[in-house]
């Protein structure tokens, strides 16, 4: 066995996993606060990446201005979706809400294809191009810097939710909505902000992932991998999102490298199936007790 190759593949996988963790964090924030499973997260990422393409490529802005603008656009999209389409579904059965997000995903794919066409596109390069070596192992610079930017946001988020007022409000809403209401927390605002923050994480990850792998209207399919991550980690667990994100990213890349690209999805979904059978609420998720 070639350990150097294995190390390089693992590193690339872990770096990809870092981005998965970021997307999964966005997913978990939305789920924790609003109990909505957001199947449109991949498409929100895609939308932000296309915005970046439009700002940096079409309008020739500096990428470092385009990036925050694109991320801002993605977050606003999340907020608008919550206000206009998810809010009316409050209290409906979860399948209906999920189907609404699937419908939103379809609309976003259509809009993107309408505006930018169906062909795959490359994002303008904006990350440094100098190869990165860790020990002897080579890591593609796009992936390495993507990972660094992603982790920076991840850490900011973790600190924010741990210490800030908004973070406490979010955690309070997640643990008991009625109590949060009676303590004067503006739960509606928490709902809205959770969508904004969740979409923000997804949007940044979207631009970074698209920068490494290109962009097309099918880009949203990455949402499936993220779904695996959040189920394995536990839908309402931030730690779970981090651990499972790294693990699934690693597994996917290693399976793809050693067995062939067609094994990427089955490998991660096999882990998903095992988790569903033995720990349906995920590695770190809360085991909910149901009462009649």
């Amino acid at each position: 066995m070639d350990w150097l190759f294995f190390g390089e593949i693992s590193l690339a996988g872990l770096a990809m996993g870092g981005l998965y963790a970021l997307i999964a964090l966005g997913f978990v924030i939305i789920y924790k606060a609003t109990r909505v499973i957001n199947f449109a997260i991949g498409e929100i990422m895609m939308f932000a990446a296309y915005l970046f393409l439009a700002f940096a490529g079409g309008m020739e802005m500096s990428p470092w201005i385009a990036l925050p603008l694109a991320v801002l656009g993605g977050s606003i999209l999340g907020g608008v979706i919550e206000k206009t389409l998810i809010r009316p579904m409050l209290g409906e059965p979860s399948i209906s809400v999920v189907m609404v997000t699937i419908g939103i995903a379809s609309i976003l794919v259509g809009v993107v294809e309408f505006v930018w066409g169906a062909d795959p596109q490359l994002l303008p390069r904006f990350l440094p191009r100098k190869p990165v070596f860790i020990g002897e192992m080579y890591l593609a610079p796009k992936i390495a810097y993507g990972f660094l930017i992603g982790s920076a946001l991840l850490i900011v988020y973790l600190l924010y939710f741990r210490f800030s007022r908004g973070g406490v409000a979010l955690r309070a809403t997640a643990s008991d909505q009625a109590a949060a209401y009676s303590m004067g927390i503006n739960v509606r605002r928490v709902f809205n902000l959770s969508w904004v923050f969740g979409s923000l994480a997804a949007s940044l990850a979207g631009v970074l992932v698209a920068a490494t792998g290109g962009l097309s209207p099918q880009f949203g399919a990455i949402g499936l991998s993220v779904l695996v991550v959040v189920i394995v980690g536990g839908l309402d667990s931030i730690v779970g999102a981090l651990v499972a994100g790294l693990f699934i990213g690693w597994l996917e890349t290693v399976a793809g490298a050693y067995l062939g690209g067609q094994y990427r999805m089955p490998a991660t979904f096999a882990v998903l199936a095992v988790i569903l059978v033995f720990r349906p609420y995920g590695l770190f998720g809360t085991h909910e007790i149901e009462r009649v």
Binding site: L85, S106, L108, G110, F114, A118, P266, L276, P280
Partner: protein, 347 residues
């Protein structure tokens, strides 16, 4: 409730068609279905066949999702099992179509039971994701098990045959697909007049309460999965006979979502709704094609925008129905009927 229609006994209350007006309309509907292929051109007949296949599959998914409350994202996978079974049997054994379709349904049902096994432990969205995993595995098998499924190239098959007759044209296929669709919808309707169907509904309404009432959850959930996948398998088999080729890409994940959308747009837990939803969702893309063809002389770019428009309309239909008309087309249908039966009075 209609006036002058007091039910005297339990059988009358449970009857599918209770009034003579309903019976006459239903007979008329069947007559139209029978005469339809003689009256219209090949394109409408082709559409009729597509709608028939969609109706079978949607009814199957409606049993599982609409009546038992188990969300499935695996319908296309089960259809694939049916399609590949029919393709393989027709290439290797030459069995007549009723046998191959039955076997396709049974194999799909067996796999459906397997996929349904986690349903005792997980439910709701977790179950949806378990069925999603199943469809990923099935797609993988279709693409990789080359000796049986022909890999990415897929399989092409002989036309359906029975007693020396071959069903080669759309016209001939219509007389397999549509009668089967009618039979299977009536079959589903009958299921919900029995203990089994009522158990499904009880599970949907509250599974824990249903268990306390003495319904064996695993047993009935698996039965619902089996029944639903049987319908999907038959629909997939018909799909294979109709297009005479199956590839892994014939049954993508978007097809599962399409059927889920058809159930929702039609009306969950309503068989009539499933039929309406299947017809509606199948005809929307065709209507859009016609519109595009009509617009192309004025806007030469129209065909380019057709596929994104379709995505947008598809999504908007799902979102719109869920927000504004959660009971779907079936509810609209009832409203129209109520209007006519109460006219000139208001309801």
């Amino acid at each position: 409730m209609r006036i002058g229609d007091a039910k005297q006994n339990y059988e009358a209350d449970e009857a599918i068609l209770s009034t003579s007006t309903q019976k006459i309309w239903f007979a008329f509907f069947l007559l139209v279905l029978l005469l339809f292929p003689f009256m219209v051109g090949s394109y409408l007949m082709y559409l009729g066949c597509l709608v028939g296949i969609a109706v079978i599959s949607t009814t199957g998914l409606n049993i599982l999702t609409g009546f038992t409350g188990l969300i499935s994202l695996g319908q296309a996978g089960f259809m694939g099992v049916g399609g590949y079974t029919v393709a393989w049997l027709s290439m290797n054994t030459g069995l007549p179509f009723p046998v191959t379709l039955l076997l396709a349904g049974l194999l799909a049902a067996a796999i459906g039971i397997l996929v349904g096994l986690p349903s005792l432990r997980v439910k709701g969205l977790y179950l949806a994701i378990a069925t999603l995993a199943a469809s990923v595995f099935l797609h993988f098998i279709f693409a990789e098990w080359e000796s049986v499924t022909g890999g990415m190239g897929g399989l092409s098959l002989e036309p359906a045959h029975l007693f020396g007759l071959t069903f080669q044209t759309d016209f001939a296929m219509y007389f397999i697909i549509v009668p089967l669709a009618v039979l299977m919808v009536i079959g589903a309707k009958n299921v919900f007049r029995t203990r089994i169907g009522r158990a499904f509904i009880a599970i949907r309404d509250r599974d824990i309460s249903a268990e306390i009432l003495g319904i064996n959850l695993l047993h009935y959930k698996l039965m619902s999965f089996a029944l639903s996948s049987f319908y999907a398998g038959v629909a997939g088999g018909l799909f294979a006979y109709f297009f005479r080729v199956v590839t892994p890409e014939s049954f993508p994940l978007s097809m599962s979502i399409f059927y889920l959308a058809a159930v929702i747009v039609g009306g969950m837990g309503n068989l009539l709704g499933g039929v309406l939803g299947a017809a509606f969702m199948t005809l929307i893309p065709e209507a859009l094609k016609l519109l595009t063809a009509a617009l192309t002389p004025f806007y030469p770019n129209a065909p380019i925008f057709m596929s994104p428009m379709l995505e947008i309309i598809f999504g908007a239909l799902i979102v719109g129905f869920l927000i504004f008309e959660p009971h779907g087309l079936a509810e609209i249908w009832h409203r129209i009927r109520r209007f006519f039966s109460l006219w000139p009075f208001k309801n």
